[in-house]
């Protein structure tokens, strides 16, 4: 009797400690969740913070007198003359009008270096398109140099170093006040390919490259994945070969993506002699990589079609293949589509295997076919992120935002499809 009471006593006395432990354990769990959520939040906040300026471009709008004598150019349609002409001279002259005191050669150089490298080619292109504009005065919006852009956008950000001289900074301040230097939406980002200069670089080339690559991936992996899933679920006999295939699929799903790059390099490029850095090879490699994902999710979708449907179809005389083609596949299609879209979203963000098959080349042109050199969005981000020029960091984060937007809309589409089309049996 006394023994029992003392046991109850022990339990009662330990309760406080045990409840404290309980609370502590709960707290650990909450802490873990908040760490994970905080990292996610920090990641997004950091990228938006670094990248939102990537959507803004800095321009210098000038009234440029396209004086033929100043440019040494009489006939803009003549290619030989154009190659000798100095398109920078009228731009600098018009900048000088704002600063009449700056007329030494070094001042002129300093003024000229406020403009991006491509300012001269903007003027040239304008004259090629409209030769009559020679000797007239035009208001032209020109890209500012990266250094000016950094100064205007990030003057008070310690992460950036201002590379303008004191005098240039005063000039830029004055021009900003006059409204000559202005910031606006960066349409260049969505209308150009890569460039050596941040002000002239865009993601359009990479987006087109990604689209072409994804198209190849989709065309191969979707039908093949569904066919494989149908075979394994509906036709495969219970034997060693089937087991072997299943083991292979499960293992492939866990093979590191870079290994698929090695496969692409050795087989598609080495053995078949396909060209490097083209969307076809990239798409093939990514298709092989996403196949296991699509097969696994399609099998789940096929499994969820109730056997009563198969039995009913067989009961009215349909052959096995007719049951599959007329009933099982249409009913499993929403699930298959969802799985495939998620697989495609993964493939869209994949970088490592594409590095090995040469899709990291510096490519300025927008790719125009499955066999033209291209890069893809994540690789473009990688290239910009590893560039030393300051302007590319914000472009990389802007590129990340574009990439994430694409991926999230794909995932949202998958969720919507599932909600909309999936049937509960």
């Amino acid at each position: 009797m006394t023994d029992q009471r003392s046991q109850a006593e022990i339990v009662r006395n330990s309760l406080k400690r045990r409840y404290r432990k309980e609370r502590r354990f709960r707290l650990y769990g909450l802490l873990a969740i908040s760490i994970a959520l905080a990292s996610l939040f920090t990641l997004f906040a950091d990228i938006i913070n670094k990248g939102h300026t990537g959507f803004i471009k800095t321009t210098i709008t000038l009234d440029v007198t396209l004086d033929s004598g100043m440019m040494y150019l009489d006939d803009p349609t003549d290619e030989d003359q154009r190659s000798m002409a100095d398109f920078m001279a009228p731009i600098i002259a018009s900048l000088q009008e704002h600063f009449p005191t700056a007329d030494s050669a070094s001042d002129r150089r300093a003024l000229g270096s406020l403009l991006g490298t491509y300012a001269a080619s903007e003027v040239r292109d304008l004259l090629i398109d409209n030769p009559d504009l020679l000797n007239t005065t035009q208001t032209i919006e020109l890209p500012a140099h990266d250094r000016v852009s950094v100064y205007v956008k990030h003057a008070d950000n310690p992460r950036y170093t201002i590379k303008l001289s004191e005098q240039q900074q005063r000039w830029v301040d004055e021009l900003v006040e006059k409204g000559v230097i202005d910031t606006s939406f960066n349409d260049v980002l969505f209308s150009r390919g890569d460039s050596r200069e941040p002000a002239n670089a865009g993601v359009l080339g990479a987006i087109v490259g990604s689209l072409l690559t994804m198209l190849v991936t989709l065309i191969i992996s979707f039908p093949v994945g569904i066919a494989a899933a149908v075979y394994l679920e509906e036709f495969a006999p219970q034997n060693k070969i089937t087991d072997f295939i299943e083991v292979n699929i499960n293992n492939l799903a866990a093979v590191p993506s870079i290994i698929f790059g090695l496969l692409g390099l050795a087989v598609f490029i080495g053995l078949f002699g396909m060209p490097r850095s083209v969307p076809v090879v990239g798409g093939l490699v990514l298709a092989l990589m996403t196949l296991p994902t699509i097969i696994i999710s399609s099998r789940a979708a096929i499994k969820s079609v109730p056997p009563s449907i198969r039995e009913a179809a067989e009961g009215v005389g349909a052959s096995k293949m007719q049951v599959v083609l007329h009933h099982v596949i249409p009913l499993a299609m929403p699930g298959m589509l969802t799985g495939s879209i998620i697989g495609m979203a993964q493939a869209l963000g994949e970088t490592a295997p594409l590095l090995l098959i040469g899709m990291v080349a510096f490519i300025v042109d927008i790719p125009d076919g499955f066999f033209s050199s291209a890069t893809v969005l994540p690789v473009q981000i990688y290239l910009w992120a590893s560039s030393s020029e300051q302007g590319f960091v914000e472009l990389a984060s802007a590129g990340i935002m574009v990439l994430l937007t694409f991926m999230m809309s794909m995932n949202a589409l998958a969720i919507w499809l599932r909600k909309r089309l999936e049937r509960r049996w």
């Binding site: 045990r18 036709f235 590191p256 090695l262 490592a352 990439l403």
Partner: protein, 462 residues
């Protein structure tokens, strides 16, 4: 004709074959009194004609396009005068690129030796001849196949059976593609690895402690042999993966426990998808975050406490990689925790244990094999992860256990050795394949063991 144009052509031929066979089957059926006197529906006769038309033609097209380039190259090389034959694959590719540049008109034929110019014109004629032959052959086979199927449109032949068997075989081939992919990986990696071990003994590769393949660029350089000891790479990989797991396992496991045992249904259904979001973010984004935000932050932090940290510290890469695999660990542990039967939980609670005691003393031990399986899968993920380490870890192969120093990993070396132009037969390039093989074997072993554990455990409760 280009392959890109041939494909639509074959498609059109297939459609034509389909249509003709369809009409013929109806025409055959009409005098007999309608299609019910046929052994199969007209659709099946038509589909069989389409299959006969498309499949042989496409196979020929694929095989021809696959080997065309290589065959033409060897023809061109063989046409060169004996004394100019290349004596190494590197030289061969140099000569070939010169020849193809002349043929493409990028290089003036007057500027190159006569035999190159001759080879260039040979290349041009062979290429166009090959294109023509290919087009003729493919169209011929397509037409022949369709004609054969057309002659076999007869009431007593069951076309449905033929079509279904063919479709079944196609489905089988699609499923077997996974095996083919694995075989492709294994063979491509093994072949190059064996060539690598011809140059560098396998014992040196596995047991030497220094890695500097870049010095093997020029033959006349001091130390031109390069050093191919994989140990520093492996320790670097292990260091970064260990840091990643140190982050991911507690965070992932504890959040899975909280979500499955404590959280309300609403909290669970909002938090879980948000955590899954972490798994959907591309690795290049994590790499960017690690290299440009976390690494400088850690360096500054270390400086503040008086430590010296590299700007490409293993810690930064490991931490971010850990965050990346948190959802992986948490969803796998969530599955196994939920698989523990409810009556074990109820029994423990009924005896007066608190929820955390139930968790720690009953559910966790029961779920442990599954959790370990999940952790092994996460480890194989971490070891094979490339972009984060390429962007945030270093290139120098330091043999160190200090997380503030810079280390390099197997995947980083594969990527850096193979990015850009490379010749296929230098020890430097081949070493990347040897590393790939090592990576493949290690991750495969981890996966096989993990899947076995998970499966065995599941059977216990099902």
């Amino acid at each position: 004709m280009q392959t890109a144009n041939l494909l639509p052509l074959v498609l059109v031929l297939t459609l034509v074959a389909y249509g003709l066979a369809y009409m013929r089957s109806r025409a055959v059926a009409a005098p007999l009194g309608g299609i019910r006197n046929l052994k199969a529906l007209p659709f099946y006769y038509a589909a069989r004609a389409a299959l006969w038309c498309a499949i042989p033609a496409l196979i020929v097209l694929a095989v021809w396009s696959g080997f065309e380039g290589k065959v033409i190259q060897s023809i061109v090389i063989a046409s060169l005068p004996q004394d100019t034959w290349p004596d190494s694959p590197g030289q061969a590719s140099l000569i070939l690129s010169q020849i193809s540049n002349v043929a493409a008109g990028n290089l003036n034929p007057d500027f190159v030796p006569d035999h190159i110019a001759g080879a260039a014109s040979l290349l041009e004629t062979t290429e166009s001849r090959s294109e023509n032959f290919k087009a003729i052959l493919v169209v011929l086979i397509a037409v022949l196949g369709a004609t054969f199927a057309w002659t076999r449109v007869a009431p007593h032949i069951n076309a449905r059976k033929n079509v279904e068997t063919t479709l079944r075989r196609i489905f089988f081939v699609c499923a077997a593609l996974a095996v083919l992919t694995t075989a492709g990986i294994v063979f491509s990696v093994i072949l190059e690895t064996l060539r690598f071990f011809d140059r560098v003994p396998i014992t040196e590769f596995l047991f030497s402690t220094s890695w500097s393949p870049q010095t093997a660029l020029r033959a006349d350089q001091v130390g031109s042999e390069g050093a191919f000891g994989v140990i520093p790479l492996f320790t670097g990989t292990l260091l970064i993966s260990a840091i990643a797991l140190l982050v991911a396992v507690p965070v992932g496991l504890l959040s899975a426990i909280y979500l499955s045992e404590y959280a309300s249904k609403r909290m669970r259904s909002t938090i879980k998808p948000i955590l899954e979001l972490l798994a959907g973010i591309p690795t290049v984004v994590y790499g960017f975050f690690a290299a440009l935000t976390v690494a400088p932050f850690i360096r500054d932090l270390a400086e503040m406490v008086g430590l010296e940290a590299s700007s490409q510290s293993a810690l930064a890469a490991g931490l971010v990689m850990g965050i990346m695999i948190v959802p992986f660990v948490s969803s796998l542990s969530d599955d196994v925790i939920n698989a523990v039967p409810q009556n074990m939980r109820d029994g423990s609670l009924a005896l007066g244990a608190t929820q955390s005691e139930t968790m720690k003393k009953v559910i966790f031990p029961a779920a442990l094999p599954g959790i370990i399986g999940g952790i092994l899968l996460a480890a194989s993920r971490a070891i094979g992860e490339t972009m984060i380490v390429v962007m945030a870890a270093g290139l120098a192969a330091n043999l160190t256990a200090n997380p503030l120093e810079s280390v390099t990993t197997v995947t980083v070396q594969i990527a850096t050795l193979l990015v850009g132009d490379q010749e296929f037969d230098s020890a430097k390039t081949l070493s990347a394949f040897a590393l790939g093989m090592l990576l493949f074997i290690v991750t495969l072993l981890l996966n096989v063991v993990a899947l076995k554990i998970v499966r065995k455990y599941r059977e216990q409760y099902d």
